[in-house]
Symmetry: C2
Subunit: 336 residues, 2 copies
């Protein structure tokens, strides 16, 4: 049984909790929020797992073996480090950490706690839709390029325009469009094609120092991948992978949607239908499988691959930020 | 009457000739090709204008007052310079010249021949579809960004893959995807938003030193415009201009297609239907109007605007090439 304690009571924690409730071999074992009231309000009427407002007490609970972290981005590192030190598996919402320095420190901690498993909650690469894309890419022949897009006007931007400073638009909380939506697209590229040789980012910056939107280019040996990212405009673009005259077409790079192959002659074949149901259920299934059989070779192999991808995504996001001069307070190190 | 002599007998010259045939106030007055046979073959059975294989004789023909140039890109400059020196108006296929140095020399020649009119044949900015886009942009409020795409697999790329070296994929003839298709998108941006503050280009280079495809970013004061360009892949992407939650959507940045406004609530309104008929007829109409009333203030004003846009497009393409390290022999100067 994977016994999940959840940090944070926002909508994404609720969605993750729902996926845990539905997953055989997993259950909710605790909830942590800044107030006990909010923590208690997270539970359903029939649920009795403990509600905490103190992270030390939460992590001392021996009934919890896996911690899900969906706090503001800049807080992931400190909370994950504490959870790993307490011997808990951790599932961290993407983007897992603010920079490769944080990631390296987490990997050091993981070496000291070899039984602990660390997962970045990149839900989309665990879906059937993503698997169908990956299978198709393998069969398409030489790839000529790709464009992945995720451009969605955020209601948080209305708040920003009204003079508020939502976390997601601040450097202090390691926010911005690249971190929030671009991370999906960088994952798409790395899970399909491996780490890029180099990466650039052209952001449109807000006065807060973070990016409202931007265009990224990931360079591979024989092709480039272009990323279109925005939290301040809507788009009807989906994503496309090119091989000769063929196009593998799908929706935005986070939700994927219907996957279609457009043949050279223009005929379209649907490879995978639009997903339905809880979009986090597939990652929760995968994390449960690994934590319940951590020493099984097949599970170890998947785990190692996800860890490598997570590290490469972190390094690529960092490279892109460096090319664009986007700095986070978290980059200066130190605990927060 | 605008009396048009045509240089080159390719499909684009045929399309331009058709537009001239249909245009009131314009007529075909001569054809130049490398062989007299090819020149004669260009004429329709009922046509009697002279066919030349020598540019000096062609330019000495007093019946011709306007020359259309659709030779390989690197030859535009030399031919245009000769035509202007001979006192002819010139219509040069896009991209007009290889670099700003050539453009500046042409502008010097134009000062010496004040009656001569020079046009870059950027057909799409003369269309009703483009005018409807420009009108809509003016009414949309603050622009948040734009993505213009033109990605089309070229049969010339099959020839290239088979070991041939089509002009359009050579630096020698000032070719490549940016020059050939990107020029449409740079025109879209400059005709709608003015010259960008700066511009970058990330090309995928062929062994010939030119680009097969690439991603461009044009920086404006308050937004960026991203360009997706390819001659080696197909795409289903069109183009989008963003303003708040609204999207102005159209087809590829060269053909424009149907123009639609997507409102904040997702409702779609068609602003302009897909164009039909000869796509060059509108530019031929405009060039005829200007050459037939060159001193009329309204025509002078349009002419000045097009000349400025043509210069800015040339400068922007150059900036993009510089950022990408794409060099043409034409950049070394000298006659070819």
């Amino acid at each position: 049984m994977m016994n999940v304690g959840i940090i944070g009571t926002g909508w994404i924690s609720r969605q993750f909790a729902d996926a845990v409730r539905q997953q055989q071999g997993a259950r909710l074992a605790g909830i942590l929020s800044r107030t006990r009231e909010a923590a208690e309000g997270f539970r359903r009427p029939d649920e009795t797992y403990p509600a905490y407002d103190d992270i030390e007490e939460f992590l001392a609970d021996s009934q919890i073996d896996t911690v899900y972290i969906a706090s503001p981005n800049s807080m992931h590192y400190g909370q994950a480090a504490k959870a790993i030190s307490a011997g808990k598996n951790v599932v961290v919402e993407k983007p897992a950490f603010s920079n490769p320095a944080e990631f390296a420190k987490i990997e050091s901690l993981l070496l000291q706690h070899p039984h602990v498993r660390f997962f970045e909650a990149a839900r989309h690469i665990h879906t059937d839709a993503f698997r169908s894309i990956a299978n198709q890419v393998e069969g398409m022949g030489a790839i000529s390029g790709a464009v992945f897009s995720y451009m969605k006007y955020s209601s948080k931007y209305d708040a920003f325009l009204a003079g508020e400073t939502p976390n997601i638009f601040t450097a202090r909380f390691s926010g911005g469009a690249l971190q929030d939506l671009g991370v999906y697209l960088v994952y798409d590229a790395i899970a399909l094609f491996g780490a890029p040789l180099s990466a650039q980012y052209h952001p449109l910056l807000l006065p807060t120092g973070t990016d409202a939107m931007g265009t990224g280019v990931l360079h591979y040996q024989h092709f480039d991948v272009t990323l279109l990212i925005s939290k301040t405009v809507n788009s009807q673009f989906g994503s496309e992978i090119y091989a000769g005259r063929q196009i593998l077409s799908f929706g935005n790079g986070g939700d994927l949607g219907s996957v279609r192959l457009v043949e050279s002659d223009g005929t379209v074949r649907e490879i995978c239908q639009s997903p339905t149901g809880n979009p986090m259920s597939e990652e929760v299934r995968d994390f449960t499988d690994v934590t319940q059989a951590p020493t099984e070779p097949a599970q170890q192999s998947r785990y190692s691959r996800w860890l490598k991808e997570s590290r490469e995504v972190c390094e690529t996001l960092w490279q892109m930020r460096q090319s664009a001069g986007i700095h986070f307070p978290a980059d200066d190190g130190g605990e927060r």
